[in-house]
Symmetry: none
Subunit: 235 residues, 2 copies
DNA sequence: TAGTGGTCTAGACCACATG
DNA sequence: ATGTGGTCTAGACCACTAG
């Protein structure tokens, strides 16, 4: 269980101290040498840990000046999207904890432009024991939808499960992102105030025929999630 | 000029061999030990170079198997390229009306993780006479930044202007999106209530060396903007 | 001037993939 | 069995920041 690399363990320890507020924005982090001494690790290992936090935007480093917690601590989790497969990676990293499964009502389907019969899975996106990263609704075409127990036993993503068990190929995904205010009930589930800003992402998964076989909507409260993508210019 | 760190020089050398086609997708790269021997560098330096290429998605590394050039974007997978141009398209459609140009203060640069001297252009994104779509700040490296009049005369995007007038190539753009609440001043400029949710997008434009030469931050109030993207699975 | 992070070297042991 | 990349140690010199 604790077979994670040492530098990663160190990084997670520092990350926790930042996210819990023990280290507030602007505060100095231990210097590299201090980390080496107190933790009994080499400088390379300490730097590797600090590199992770730097890439996550949690800390700022300046030669000669030291390391401080970033002013606006970046969300604990950022999704990097480079290509199609990265979306699936996100689904694996951030575990979907399903809380209810039921037939979707017509009103909800209408609002999202879905036609036909769908199952609705409602739950939370979670990474380890942190507060939930998102409130998520997943609509799956009724005739191929997994049941409640199956979803919570999944090690991968729902779309991967669909492809594996129903010989379905998802060839196109459209994703929409916008800012919204959380309703009272949504906010309470996520443990934030009503009207808190949230990033709403809607993904529509289509098969080769262009038909929508799955739709997921996630509400990420401000500060818990950022969506990051990298775009390369062809050569 | 050639005072770039050794590992970066090594990375650029390998990058060139890949981009010129000397190393084609799937081809084996030299092993770490081979790089050490032929270039007379330490393993740490070689690994640092390979790490850059890994983060850029140019190569794939597998323990025991070696390092290979990543598969070329499949024909149908003009995704990254398409997205890149789409960003510029957005910049052309939504005109940037600059309201002020000044040197960026250290605090603002710090908060965004920028080092060096930058000019700050503040303004609005507008389509025709509609209410502004976004409140935008653009940071441009001071030595190449356009002045106030130039910006407002531009027909294209700022990044295009940089490339055209300074012989600069922007090869990588990272974009980050998250939900935030607008401050009072931000809200009043946009004509909405304070605390209105907004989609915050930050784009970092990098040259071939990985240096950030431009950064833009846009605040899109809820309801005025949504970001939509399409992802195709390569075959 | 003292201390910081940035770079670099020269070792070592390990888990893993391949033949 | 060999060689790969992944991790880790113990040093070193440098450029830069700050007191």
């Amino acid at each position: 269980m604790t077979d994670a690399p040492l530098y990663r363990q160190v990084a997670e320890g520092l990350r926790r101290r930042i996210l819990t507020g023990e280290l507030t924005p602007g505060a100095q982090l231990p210097t590299e040498m201090a980390l080496c001494d107190t933790l009994g690790i080499s400088r390379h290992t300490a730097r590797e840990a600090l590199r992770i936090l730097t890439e996550d935007g949690l800390i700022l480093r300046r030669r000669g000046a030291g390391t401080v917690v970033a002013e606006a601590p970046a969300p604990a989790f950022a999704q990097t999207l480079g290509d199609f497969d990265d979306i699936l990676q996100y689904a694996r990293d951030a575990r979907f904890v399903c809380q209810s499964a039921e037939p979707a009502d017509a009103e909800a389907l209408d609002a999202l432009g879905l036609t036909g019969e769908f199952s609705l899975l409602t739950g939370l996106r979670q990474v380890s024991q942190e507060p939930p990263m998102a409130l998520t609704r997943v609509f799956v075409r009724a005739d191929i939808a997994p049941d409640f127990e199956t979803v919570n036993r999944l090690s991968g993503s729902i779309s991967e499960w669909l492809e594996a068990t129903h010989a379905i190929a998802i060839t196109r995904v459209t994703q929409r992102m916008e800012a919204v205010a959380l309703s009272g009930t949504q906010a309470s589930v996520l443990g934030v105030r009503a009207e808190t800003p949230a990033l709403r992402t809607i993904r529509r998964y289509r098969d080769t025929g262009g038909e929508i076989i799955q739709l997921s909507e996630s509400l990420h409260p401000a500060g818990r999630f950022a969506y990051e993508m990298r775009l390369e210019r062809g050569q």
